[in-house]
């Protein structure tokens, strides 16, 4: 009990309006409207995203599922401001991120990305990685940022690892630390690009619990790309299935399984029905992708 009050004090002291347990959505509604992206308009003309529209409610966990190479990362990069879009518009809380006249969104701490293979800076310890954002934005002094970083790492169960370099910890730990590094910037949207790809099932399940716990605490909007259907349903409020390249929205499945979810939810009847529904839609696209691939090779 004693420790809890200490923690609460620390939360009160932190400048974050998104402190633990507020449970209040902080905005983060994403509108993706008729977005198209053509790579290299002069040359080969790869159309990666075509007339893709989705609405993501603030504070919702939105999972994107689709075949390999269909343009999911392209969509995420457009939201993050890593590259431009060719048509359409993307809005965050009704503010234009990119659209006509402004093809490329500016990069900002309101949208933080957790990258496909992890991108913690190898030359900084976990705590230094986490403290990086507030320091370069001059929102905190170095000491304050480090204190907050250690505190947030401890919340994510990484309290003892703040002084370790990313190369010294497991991939699961470094991925959790990367999410902490994103969250310290109090983003409106967390953009995750297959963060748990290539992890074994056991590590993955721990990652899921950790992410759900973090989500319950912060209620940050999550845009999560995955190949793993079980993961999509287990974590998401909505599962957006996208078509094979060019990427557009095929189907949205609402996940009605109540939160908090535990691993028992996985064996429920509701889960199985959803799984079938998603699987059917994804399989259809996968077959199309496969046939398209065969055509290209022929």
């Amino acid at each position: 009990m004693n420790q809890m009050t200490t923690n609460q004090k620390l939360h009160a002291a932190a400048t974050s309006p998104q402190g633990t347990g507020t449970g209040r959505p902080l905005g983060g509604a994403l509108s993706i409207r008729n977005v198209s992206k053509i790579y290299d308009p002069e040359g080969v003309n790869v159309c990666a995203v075509n007339d893709c529209s989705m609405e993501i409610v603030a504070g919702e966990v939105c999972m994107i599922v689709g075949p390999s190479g269909c343009g999911k990362t392209t969509l995420l990069n457009a939201i993050a401001g890593f590259h431009s879009i060719t048509h359409g518009e993307i809005l965050l809380d009704n503010q234009l991120l990119c659209g006509p006249g402004k093809p490329k969104a500016s990069q900002g701490a309101d949208r933080m990305v957790v990258f496909q293979n992890g991108a913690l800076f190898p030359w900084r310890t976990l705590a230094e990685n986490v403290a990086y954002g507030p320091i370069v934005q001059k929102k905190m002094t170095k000491a304050e940022a480090h204190e907050k970083a250690y505190h947030m790492l401890a919340e994510a169960g990484l309290g003892d690892f703040g002084d370790k370099y990313p190369g010294e910890v497991s991939s699961g730990m470094s991925r959790r630390a990367e999410i902490v590094r994103a969250l310290i910037n109090e983003p409106k949207v967390l953009l995750l690009d297959e963060p748990y790809r290539a992890m074994d099932a056991l590590t993955k399940s721990i990652m899921h619990e950790s992410l759900l716990e973090t989500y319950d605490r912060t209620k940050v909007t999550i845009f999560f790309i995955t190949h793993d259907l079980e993961e999509a349903i287990f974590l998401g409020d909505k599962v957006h299935i996208v078509t094979t390249r060019p990427c557009s929205l095929k189907k949205t499945v609402d996940v009605t399984i109540p939160r908090p979810r535990t691993y028992e939810s996985l064996s429920s009847e509701a889960f199985r029905t959803l799984m079938e529904e998603v699987n059917e839609a994804v399989h259809e696209e996968a077959v199309k992708a496969f046939q398209a691939g065969e055509r290209e090779l022929a």
Binding site: G108, R124, H151, L153
Partner: protein, 287 residues
Amino acid sequence: MANVAHTATSAPVVRRRSSFEKLMSNTSLWRGMLAIAVFLLLWEIGSRFDEWFGKEWTLPFIGLIPAPTAVFAAWLEILPKAGYWMSWLQSFKRVLSGFLVAMLIGIPFGLALAVNKYFRDLFFPPFEILRPIPPLAWVPASLIFWPTNEMSIAFVTFLGAFFTIVINVLGGARTIDVRYLRAAQSMGASQWDLFSKIILPGTLPSIFTGAAVGMGITWEVVLAAEMISGGGTQGGGGLGFFIWNSYMGGSLEQVVVGMISIGIAGYLSSSAIRWLGDRFMPWKRLF
């Protein structure tokens, strides 16, 4: 409460071994020493073969080289002489000055090539034309350019390290993962932050690789330049001149002493760079 303060540690207490204990139980070290001992023994036998079995038993090549014990005796003889140590000092001074100037100019130059397209367009082509010219091909020209022998040697030494360092820095800085840059930019890093906090530390490993290779080349160049130029002035001809001089004087033992001295000097130099690398890149020590 699941939240554990970061100060709490529960690691089991492990008795730390002293560094002497570690050294003594280092099997690679023992194996290495054994290998050197066997090597010296074979060398000794090889070169003494004719003494033991008669002239017709002189082995090719190794039979003509002085035995390690003879070399060692020659070494003991010159160890107290100031001239020998002056040679060390002279060569070290040349290597270090050429190397340091190459680092000082090469690192910023390489980084500038990496981050600025205009700079790259302008300076990379001439750089690439000059780079393949071996440093020693510069010796005659630099003897003409520069007023003193010493300056010519310094210049050629500098060239030896410079090109290697620049190419490594450029390669390292250009291959930094774009995700690091994107992540930093999303977190609000300015252009200067990107350079100082991402590109610079991200290039450090390549800088040290370039330094290690460059250091090796500097030694080669210094030694060769000393032999060619006759070693400069006032008895301080450097180790290269020491070898040449011994050869001219017909002392094969001293030639080998000079060669081994260079081996040791090179080893000391690369150890120093490794040590600095560990200091500057604590995250690298783990791998």
